[in-house]
C-alpha cells in the first residue's frame, strides 16, 4: 500500500461570514416519546467540528439528523443557512451530495458483490452524467487521492485490508465533490498504525478538497488532531463546547474532565475511574449529578442551562470551581 503524500496543511481559518455549510439549531430528536437529543446547536466549518461522547450519549442520532436521515422533533438542521425541512427538491439533491457519511466499518458500507472501482464510480453516476472514459479517469484520480493503488480497483471489498476499505469508502464519498464529511468513528475499527495513516489522509484531504468535517468519536486524541472546535455530549445534551485545545487542557465541565482523565497514556498515571456511571433520571436537576463529585442541592434541583465562560459554553453550575481544579484525580 502506498502512503499518500500529505503535506501537513493546517486547517484553513474560518474566514467566511456566510452561513456554515451544515449546522444544527436547537435540534431535539426522539425515537418514540422519549427525546434522546435535547436542543443541540452546532456548526460544521473548515476548522473541523468534534462531537465527543460515550455510548448512548446521542451523538450518532444527531449525526443521522445532520445527514437528513432523521427529522428533528423540534429545532432545525440548516444547509447553507436554509432549513433542510423546507428545502426545494433541487437543493435537497445538492444537499445529499454535499454532505457525505463515512462510518466505522468499511466492510459494511461497501457492496460485497461490487468491485471497489465500481463502488466508487456509483457515486459519480448517481450525481453526474459522465462518459465511461471520463468516469474511469475520475475513479483513478480519486483512488490516488486516498492512497489506493490503481490495481485494487477490480478487487471486491473482502480482498482488501480494513484500512484499504476505509480509504475506498472515503474515495466514494469524495466522488460527488462533497463539502462536508460526517465521520462517525472512522478509525476505531482499525489497527493503530492504520488509524494513524487514515488520520494523516483526512488531514491532507481537508485542504485539497475544501472539506468541513464533523467527527464523531469517543477518542479524544483523534478529535484533538482534526477538530478546532469540539462539543461534549452527555445524556443527549451538549454539556461543554469550545476550542478543542482549551477543552482538553482545562475542562470546565466535570464530565469533560472525567473523559479526559480516563484516557490511558503511555507513561502516564493509571486512568481515573469515575465511580458510578449512571445518568440521573429525567426531570429536574443536572443529568450528570449522580456522577459528579461536586453535586450539591442546586444541582439536584435545577438543570444547568448552557452559559458562556472563557470563550466556551458550559452547562454546569460549578464550572468555575472545575476550572480552578476543585475535582482532584
Amino acid at each position: 500500500m502506498t502512503t499518500p503524500s500529505t503535506p501537513p496543511a493546517p486547517p484553513a481559518p474560518p474566514v467566511s461570514t456566510s452561513p456554515p455549510v451544515l449546522a444544527a439549531d436547537g435540534v431535539t430528536l426522539a425515537y418514540g416519546p422519549v427525546p434522546v437529543v435535547h436542543g443541540v446547536s452546532l456548526a460544521v466549518d473548515g476548522g473541523g467540528t468534534g462531537l465527543i461522547g460515550e455510548s448512548g450519549s446521542g451523538k450518532t442520532t444527531l449525526a443521522r439528523a445532520l445527514l437528513g436521515l432523521l427529522r428533528p422533533r423540534s429545532g432545525r438542521v440548516l444547509y447553507g443557512g436554509a432549513d433542510l425541512a423546507g428545502l426545494p427538491r433541487r437543493r435537497r439533491a445538492e444537499f445529499r451530495a454535499a454532505v457525505q457519511p463515512v462510518f466505522q466499518d468499511g466492510s459494511e458500507a461497501l457492496d460485497p458483490r461490487m468491485s471497489i472501482g465500481a463502488s466508487i464510480a456509483e457515486g459519480l453516476t448517481a450525481h453526474h452524467r459522465l462518459a465511461a472514459s471520463a468516469r474511469r479517469a475520475r475513479v483513478a484520480e480519486l483512488m490516488a487521492d486516498v492512497g489506493l493503488e490503481p490495481g485494487l480497483a477490480t478487487r471486491r471489498p473482502h480482498r482488501l485490508s480494513g484500512g484499504q476499505r476505509q480509504r475506498a469508502v472515503i474515495a466514494r464519498a469524495l466522488a460527488v465533490r462533497p463539502r462536508v464529511l460526517v465521520l462517525d468513528e472512522p478509525t476505531s475499527a482499525l489497527d493503530v498504525t492504520v488509524q494513524a495513516r487514515i488520520l494523516d489522509l483526512l488531514e491532507g484531504l481537508r485542504a485539497g478538497h475544501g472539506l468541513g468535517y464533523l467527527l464523531i468519536t469517543h477518542n479524544l486524541a483523534v478529535v484533538d488532531r482534526l477538530c478546532r472546535t469540539s462539543h461534549v455530549m452527555f445524556a443527549g445534551r451538549v454539556v461543554e463546547s469550545g476550542p478543542t485545545g482549551d477543552l482538553l487542557a482545562r475542562p470546565a465541565h466535570p464530565y469533560t474532565l472525567a473523559l479526559r482523565d480516563a484516557v490511558p497514556r503511555i507513561g502516564g498515571p493509571p486512568p481515573a475511574a469515575g465511580g458510578r456511571t449512571e445518568i440521573a433520571p429525567a426531570g429536574s436537576g443536572c443529568p450528570f449529578r449522580l456522577r459528579c463529585p461536586l453535586a450539591d442541592d442546586t444541582c439536584r434541583e435545577l438543570a444547568p442551562d448552557p452559559r458562556p465562560l472563557l470563550g466556551r459554553t458550559v452547562a454546569c453550575h460549578r464550572a468555575e470551581e472545575v476550572l480552578d481544579g476543585a475535582v482532584r484525580r
Binding site: S55, V194, R225, R265
Partner: protein
C-alpha cells in the same frame, strides 16, 4: 503461574503464532500486544489449550499443569478453576436466561461450594471487583458492559482462579468504563496476587496495567521486556512504529 517454552502454533504448514519464552509469576501482569493477525490471541488460547485445528508444539505449564500434553479432563479442571478466560464481550458469554447470582451459584456448586458458603463467596467476589451485590439479582442484559466484564472477573475470583487470561477485556467499553475495569484488574493483581495474561492492541492501556509486554508481529515476538522500558525506549523498529502511531492528547498539565 505460567511458563512457556518454544510455543509454536502452525496451521496449513505456516506458523501463525510463536512465543519462544514467557514467564508469568503471581501478582504480575504480562501483555501480548500487536495488531490484527499478529498471533497474540492465538498465543493466549494456546496457553489455555484452546487452539483447535492447528498443530501446537513446545511446552506450556499453567498452575503446574502441562497444557499441551494434559488430558481434556485435566484441561477442563484447570480452566474451570485455576485459570480463567475473560473475553472481549462478556455479555455474550453469560447465559441470558439466568440471573447473575444463579450463574455464580451453579458454577460454585460444581466445585462443591453450596448454601451459605456459596452466598458468602459470591458477595465477597462481587465486592472485590467493586460491584454492588445487588447485581446478582439482575439478568445479563440488565447490566452495563463494564459491570458484565467485572462480573466475569468476579466469577473467576469466586472459583479460586490464580491466573486470568483476558482477550481485549476493555476494547468494547467506553473510556470511563474501561478505567473502572483497569482499576479492578490492578486491584486483583496487587491485592489478590493474581497473575494476569492480557491480550490488547492498545499500548496506552497496556502501559497502565502490564509489568511486562511481549510485542508480536506476523506470528512472531519482535520484542519483549519491562513495559516501561519497551514503550519508552523501544528497541525494535516495529515497536517504535506502534508507539509512534498511538494517538496522543497534547501534553496537558495534570
Amino acid at each position: 503461574m505460567i511458563e512457556i517454552r518454544d510455543l509454536v502454533v502452525r496451521a496449513g504448514g505456516r506458523v501463525i503464532s510463536s512465543v519462544p519464552e514467557l514467564d508469568l509469576a503471581a501478582g504480575r501482569c504480562t501483555a501480548l500486544v500487536g495488531e490484527s493477525g499478529s498471533g497474540k490471541t492465538t498465543a493466549l488460547l494456546a496457553t489455555l489449550g484452546l487452539v483447535e485445528g492447528a498443530e501446537v508444539t513446545g511446552r506450556v505449564t499453567v498452575c503446574g499443569t502441562e497444557v499441551l500434553t494434559a488430558s481434556e479432563r485435566a484441561l477442563r479442571d484447570l480452566r474451570g478453576a485455576k485459570a480463567a478466560l475473560v473475553m472481549q464481550s462478556p455479555q455474550a458469554a453469560l447465559n441470558p436466561v439466568m440471573r447473575l447470582g444463579t450463574l455464580m451459584r451453579r458454577a460454585l456448586a460444581r466445585h462443591g461450594v453450596k448454601g451459605a458458603a456459596a452466598r458468602a463467596r459470591a458477595h465477597e467476589a462481587v465486592s472485590a471487583v467493586l460491584l454492588d451485590p445487588a447485581v446478582l439479582r439482575r439478568y445479563p442484559h440488565q447490566v452495563s458492559g463494564g459491570q458484565a466484564q467485572r462480573f466475569a472477573l468476579a466469577l473467576a475470583l469466586a472459583l479460586g482462579a490464580d491466573v486470568i487470561a483476558a482477550d481485549e477485556p476493555t476494547s468494547a467499553l467506553d473510556v470511563t468504563v474501561q478505567a473502572e475495569v483497569v482499576a479492578v484488574l490492578r486491584r486483583l493483581r496487587d491485592e489478590r496476587g493474581l497473575a494476569l495474561l492480557l491480550v490488547s492492541h492498545d499500548l496506552a492501556l497496556v502501559s497502565t496495567v502490564a509489568d511486562d509486554v511481549v510485542v508480536m508481529k506476523d506470528g512472531r515476538v519482535v520484542e519483549s521486556g519491562p513495559t516501561a522500558r519497551v514503550l519508552t525506549e523501544p528497541a525494535h523498529p516495529y515497536t517504535r512504529d506502534l508507539v509512534a502511531a498511538v494517538p496522543r492528547l497534547k501534553e496537558v498539565e495534570l
